[in-house]
């Protein structure tokens, strides 16, 4: 935004709001930059009116991509892309998979062993 004035129809944010269909952003943990999205079999053949959403469908026709890449390839800001993806998902036309965790999380048993091992190693009271 260039200044603190009210949102007017000429404001640069308005077109994006319209392109996102006026919908709100999905929760932060959904459609993270590195989440994978793929089109469902229904999505491949559905009639999609919205131009950007149709572009997403066409783009994903050749295979799943990360959210970040989808936004870049169809040329919309990440936020707009996330809104569109959430709508496609809600219509059953798209599935997403959260990012692969950095590493396998340790389980309780392992942590207990580390704890016990440290106590034994250092001969300290728990």
């Amino acid at each position: 935004m260039d200044d603190g004035s009210d949102l007017e129809l000429t404001n640069s944010l308005v077109p994006y709001y319209v392109r996102a269909g006026g919908a709100a952003l999905p929760p932060e943990e959904e459609f993270d930059r590195t989440s994978w999205v793929a089109i469902t079999p229904e999505g491949l053949h559905a009639r999609i009116v919205d131009r950007d959403a149709a572009n997403i469908r066409d783009l994903l026709g050749s295979g799943p991509l990360s959210v970040h890449e989808v936004a870049a390839r169809i040329g919309v800001p990440l936020g707009v892309c996330r809104v569109l993806l959430a709508q496609l998902r809600d219509d059953g036309l798209l599935v997403s998979r959260p990012p692969i965790p950095k590493a396998e999380a340790p389980d309780r048993e392992l942590l207990d062993r580390v704890r016990a091992g440290l106590i034994a190693h250092l001969r300290i009271g728990a």
């Binding site: 392992l110 580390v114 091992g117 440290l118 190693h121 250092l122 300290i124």
Partner: protein, 188 residues
């Protein structure tokens, strides 16, 4: 040496903190191997980044990494990695944090030194590592109440802040156990 029946496992914990806060000492204290450090003499070139005003006796600095190992049982090994929080080591952090159980963040509570911990805290937050704050009390200095240190660092109330004398291995070990407990409480 016998080979255990189960698959050997290793866990990784980071020991992080600003320059001169005692990371090398902490890792050296509990490691079974002589810590692999890459200490280098402090030169005029590092004067811009490494503030020596409160550690005047310090003649060497860890270039990038300390490494220590503790065999916790036949098939379980703990690796400790110590690294500074300087901006120039950010790339290293990416690798080190992968799969790490968490971090012990050592801080020097003296008012003029405390602010140097902010960069490190930013990094652990950014990488979403579970962490505990270990307040290292140095020789002949007044002891700062842990609550005051917590306030000054503005860490969340859920983050444990413990006293940690890195010259005593038990003290470092207790801080690591606090980290394990914190992990169990918050991530499981």
């Amino acid at each position: 040496m016998t080979i255990g029946t189960t698959e050997p496992t290793s866990v990784k914990i980071l020991v992080v903190g600003s320059f001169g806060v005692g990371k090398t000492t902490a890792i050296g204290g509990i490691s079974e191997i002589r810590p692999l450090t890459t200490e280098e003499p402090i030169t005029d070139l590092s004067a811009a980044t490494d503030d020596l005003s409160s550690t005047p006796g310090k003649k060497t600095t860890t270039v990038a990494l300390d490494f220590g190992r503790v065999n916790l049982s036949d098939d379980l090994t703990l690796y400790l990695f110590g690294t500074p929080g300087q901006e120039r080591f950010k790339e290293l952090w990416q690798d080190l944090t992968r799969g790490a159980l968490g971090a012990l963040v050592l801080v020097d509570p003296r008012p003029d030194r405390l602010k140097q911990s902010f960069a490190v805290l930013d990094l652990v937050e950014q990488y979403q590592l579970p962490y505990v704050i270990g307040v290292n009390h140095f020789d002949g200095q007044r002891r700062y109440p842990l609550d005051e240190v917590r306030d000054a660092l503005s860490v969340s109330p859920a983050t444990p802040v413990v006293s940690c004398d890195v010259r005593r291995r038990q003290s470092t070990g207790e801080a690591l156990i606090t980290l394990i407990d914190h992990y169990i409480d918050t991530r499981l």
